[in-house]
Amino acid sequence: QIGDTGGPGDAKKMVLIPGVAAEPFYISMECGFREAASAAGYAVDVQAPAKFDATQQTPIVTGVLADKPGAVLIAPTDDKAMAGPMRQLKDAGIKVVEVDTKLEDTSIASSTISSDNEQGGRLAARTLAELVGGKAGSVLVLNTKAGTSTTDARAAGFEEEIGKHPNLRYVGQQYTDNEPDQAASKVTATLSANPDLIGVFATNLNTGEGAATGLRNAGRTGAVNLVGFDASPKQVEDLRGGAVQALIAQDPTTIGRTGVEQAIAALEGEPVRRDVETDLVALTKADLEANSKYFYKQRC
């Protein structure tokens, strides 16, 4: 079997492998990670794939493995495909901590710090129902690409929960290839076909931005309730400005910080908490300022 890596590495080094580069969610996680790890005296490195995708994350994992840090914090982009490379990390004596997403195989990571995406989808449905009040109408889910595990889980949770609200007619989900212009186009097309559209759940940043644009273009901003996922500065700005009516926010900074704590515990032989759940909150314009700690960061 592949994977004999030879000599020892640098135990005082920690690497974060996010799911994808350049997303405020992971940047915020990186902030928490850098802060906590540096404070504990570790050298840090961050290596992100250009896409949220196992085929791009795998070479990064094996590249990091060649470098032999003490611990790796990783957001696996596929709950099965990443098992092989991550097991190699473990076999090489590197402590593995899962952040945000997790593998199906629970024997590899020392600890998992995550927020439940399906739970987030359910929260989005409840929030939307509240925003709508008793009014009747159609609701749409804008998803990214078929097969993207995180956003599929959000959509699945939403679909399950929205069924409990008989006044809301679920017209199904549309895929957007994670492109804002397709999201905008699919929102306006849905508006043409279903003029009673009353709510849209956009499962990530790009779909949210596209949906907001489509609604604005249609002159239906606010009339159609838009619930987004994540709380990047632009999204918070849109929430404040009324382009978006609610956001489901995770707590990436805490995820990153907790991940470092658990990794250090594992490295130093202290007791490790196998599973840590972090908060998910629904932000609306009303309670926005009170929840500012959940806002994501563009840079640390």
């Binding site: 580069a21 989900q173 306006t188 508006l191 043409s192 644009t213 604005r216 249609a218």
Partner: protein, 331 residues
Amino acid sequence: MKPRAGLRRLAGANTLWIAVVLLVLIAVFGALRPDAVLTVFTVQTTLVETSVLLVLSVGMTYVVVTAGIDLSVGSVLVFSGVTSAMAMNALHGGDATTAGWGVVLVGLLVALVSGAAWGLVNGLLIARTGLPPLIVTLGSFGAALGAGQLISDGSNVAGVPDVLSDTLGTGTWFGVPNLVLVAAAVTAVGALVLGATAFGRHTYAIGSNEEAARRAGIPVTRHLVRVYLLAGVLAGLAGFMALAYFRVASITGHDTDNLNAIAAVVLGGTSLFGGAGSVVGTVLGVFIPAVLRKGFVIVGVNVYWQPIAVALVLVAAVWFDQSRRKARDRR
């Protein structure tokens, strides 16, 4: 005789049959959901949503007519949007949302210059050193995106002036969205320059036989630089239009713009081997997939069937167009 000659000229136009395909598509969707398809709203939004791609595709038409290819347009769009938004923010204390027209104009200039810079790099490398356009623009595809991420620290840039997004982004003029007006103007100028000027003629000549063009004294190197420059400037303009439309400079979500633009150009009858093609064809090539995607959502086709249906109609459209054209040539 006069009207018949006109009719014959029309039937002889290379774009006639692909235009027929587009009209048939619209008619079919219109018949299926007359209440939803043939409304001012649907027409307006469809036009707006294709404006940015149309501007990219006009530039791509020139490139493909020279037998080149430009994979970098989507990344250049991103780069230009980022630099433009950041410049506007910097000029207005970090958040340009309330900035005025002066700042917007500077933003436009920055977007165009950013696009031009990448176009110039592409053009110089391709024309001067003779490197394959695919490799050069694949390189700038990666590099422009990386540079955009580097400048913006990897995240979307907000703070687009309201005056910009309210006028160019969502404003209309006698019911026609302003974005559409801009795209239409670019297309009209692009079509005229390619079809009626010496610049266009030289573009065709280079694509048809580069060596013959060089021997005829056409400054091939300079001309190629200008064509890629044009594609870059138009990508910069497209980035600025996207900025006005989305009110944010997105980093992600433009990785297939290049293929979409190339597909529109080829669908419109321009050969990848250069020498022939037209901007009018490209317009049709932009609208056919856009109408299809929109129509399938409106009539409620299953999400997994949508890409399959789009693929089938695209291939069938080109097939029909080609067999009609052949029949004409055989007449």
